[in-house]
């Protein structure tokens, strides 16, 4: 962080208020969504049934929407808004106003979609695949969430642009640069989901058109769906690259390489959606394989990240006198929740990444596609690597924003929380991976499948998932206790917003990294290259459209 001297060390209180507003929504979503997750694992164990006519697929929709869309988007926007404020010296009034409008638009959209789900008008899961047809208010609500996130992102971009104007020829602060990369990637990616919702699903659910082109809709969804997961991951990478080194007392291994890896994520996260559609009938196998190759390209920045993180740890350890091949590992601050909570997240990304490589490997996807392996996979990526990092961030960011301190007791509780999470997830995600390899399907209520022998073999794994799910729910209760304590009850004081400095501060990041015309141009070119021909093909060879279906149980 070359320019940290110029930046204020504290987030402006007016910006803090907006960030906290986001976090209240995010942690409310965690509470409710977590409860739904617990109930799902209990139902699927076969030992328990939902009361009062509540439907498994309804709570599955609630869980997916709240955890995958609401918790993530609100937390990320709140965190990035604060990170930009901290590293640029604060948002302007105009940016702040834009951010607030974005927040309210997202919240209204969330409430619209949630109401429809509660009324059983939208038990379509968070992927809402046509021709399952939800109530139009559900789709409109999702539109509001996306538009609100654009406004939220615009606030960050405005402040970044102002900083660049005031500091000509200077590379922007690393955290702001990273936040803006993620925001730009998000905006480019959400164009796809906005297109299918606005031009296909809304007119269709309003009855203006009778049919929908299912494959076009799915392709637009997955154009968005893969960068969505990187939108979740990059804020965690922001913490790992630019915050954790400060917490342990070390330095950023290389500011420039961190920026390079974020640029690679912008370029290669988007033109890869077909790897979610590998077993679909309507897409040419050559184009599937082409996008598989691009998917493998996006592994490279993660390989770079792994090296940087280890290097940053080793450099710190050796500076403390650690010797031997792994001596540095022992001297890391294992008693500091701000470090160990995200660290468990980092470690979880090793099996998570391994699973991701397998999922994306073209025909190998047939072994695992839509089995519960996939659920196990993203409960490692999103529900461990990403959320543990988010929890770790909130343990210092919430008191920083509310003018309180992370106490010793809360620090300890945070560490316990992370281990509880790790143990619960080992049971749940581990059992999901193995059951998936045996063929157990995802997104399914408890079933013996007419007494089939194979289905009977799956049940012990489902019981293990319920055990893991229960432990994880305990972890969620702990998070909520800590969050409420830090937001309202912890003693007043100054909690640091850690921002690390580069190991070699004289090595200025190349200014080409801030050349948005260049990177957006390459991003667009890659997207056009990967999608134009197959997309025209999909439209030209389309079958007759589908009318809508509502096959879920209603009140």
């Amino acid at each position: 962080m070359v320019n940290s001297a110029a930046a204020k060390v504290k987030v402006d209180p007016r910006d803090a208020k907006l960030s906290m507003a986001h976090f209240f929504v995010a942690f409310s979503a965690l509470a409710l969504g977590g409860l739904m997750g617990l109930l799902q694992t209990l139902v699927r164990s076969g030992k328990w049934e939902l009361p009062w006519g509540i439907d498994y697929y309804q709570i599955l929709t609630v869980h997916g929407v709240l955890m995958g869309l609401v918790l993530t988007t609100f937390f990320i926007m709140g965190f990035q808004y604060a990170a930009v404020s901290r590293t640029t010296g604060g948002h302007s009034n105009a940016a702040r106003r834009t951010g607030w409008i974005g927040f309210w638009v997202m919240l209204i959209g969330t409430l619209m979609a949630a109401t429809m789900v509660l009324l059983k008008e939208a038990s379509v899961l968070y992927t809402f695949y046509a021709p399952l047809k939800a109530h139009w208010i559900f789709y409109l609500g999702l539109t509001f969430v996306v538009v609100g996130s654009w406004l939220d992102g615009a606030a960050q971009i405005m402040t970044y642009a102002r900083w660049r104007k005031n500091n000509p020829g200077q590379p922007s602060p690393l955290l702001s640069f990273m936040a803006v990369i993620n925001t730009v990637m998000w905006i480019v990616a959400t164009l796809g989901v906005a297109a299918t919702v606005l031009f296909q699903l809304l007119p269709w659910s309003l009855g203006l058109v009778d049919t929908v082109d299912v494959l076009v809709s799915r392709t637009l969804f997955w154009y968005f769906g893969h960068p969505l997961v990187y939108f979740w991951l990059l804020p965690a990478y922001m913490c790992w690259y630019a915050i954790i080194p400060k917490i342990i007392g070390g330095k950023i291994f290389s500011d420039s390489l961190a920026r390079l890896s974020f640029i690679l994520f912008l370029l290669f996260s988007i033109p890869v959606g077909f790897h979610h559609q590998l077993t679909e009938p309507g897409i040419d196998p050559a184009w599937k394989f082409f996008q598989v190759i691009l998917t493998f390209m996006v592994v490279i920045p993660s390989l770079m990240t792994a090296f940087s993180l280890f290097a940053s740890f080793e450099r710190y350890g050796r500076s403390k006198g650690a010797t031997g091949l792994f001596g540095w590992f022992k001297v890391l601050p294992w008693g500091d929740a701000r470090f160990i909570v995200p660290f468990i997240g980092m470690a979880s990304f090793i099996p998570a990444g391994a699973g991701g490589l397998i999922n994306a490997s073209n025909q190998m996807d047939q072994v695992v596609h839509n089995t519960i392996w996939v659920t196990g996979h993203f409960h490692l990526t999103l529900a461990t690597s990403v959320v543990l990092t988010f929890f770790g961030i909130s343990y210092w960011l919430v008191p920083h924003l509310t003018g309180r301190k992370l106490t010793k007791a809360m620090n300890k509780l945070g560490i316990i929380q992370a281990w509880v999470w790790f143990i619960g997830m080992t049971f749940m995600s581990g059992a999901m991976h193995f059951q998936g390899l045996l063929g157990g399907p995802r997104r399914s209520a408890f079933s013996t499948y007419g007494g089939a022998k194979q289905a009977a073999e799956w049940i012990p794994y489902q019981v293990a998932q319920a055990v893991g799910g229960s432990i994880l729910f305990l972890g969620i209760i702990l998070v909520l206790i800590i969050f409420i304590n830090l937001a309202f009850f912890a003693p007043k004081g100054e909690q640091e917003f850690p921002v690390a400095e580069a190991e070699n501060p004289e090595e200025k990041a190349p200014m080409v990294f801030e050349n948005w015309k260049l990177w957006l141009g390459i991003t667009a070119a890659l997207i056009l290259f990967a999608y134009t021909i197959p997309f025209i093909d999909i439209i030209q060879n389309a079958p007759p459209g589908s009318k809508g279906f509502q096959t879920w149980s209603k009140w």
């Binding site: 390989l303 792994a306 090296f307 280890f310 290097a311 740890f313 080793e314 450099r315 350890g317 050796r318 500076s319 031997g324 091949l325 792994f326 001596g327 540095w328 590992f329 090793i350 099996p351 990444g353 391994a354 699973g355 490589l357 397998i358 490997s361 025909q363 190998m364 047939q366 072994v367 695992v368 390899l437 190991e503 070699n504 004289e506 090595e507």
Partner: protein, 49 residues
């Protein structure tokens, strides 16, 4: 340009005094894990019909 070269030299000195052996070993362990899991599922794919 001369200034830039000077910086590179300084950087090299820092590296000599601070080894990254452990980092290299760690990432290769990570690489081995990726290969083993990938090969395992590839074996399942080949073995199944």
């Amino acid at each position: 340009m001369a200034k830039a070269e000077l910086k590179t030299k300084q950087k090299t000195e820092v590296e000599d005094s601070s080894s990254l052996k452990g980092t290299l070993a760690s990432v290769f362990l990570l690489g081995a894990f990726l290969i083993v899991t990938w090969a395992g599922v590839y074996y399942l794919f080949v073995d199944r019909f």
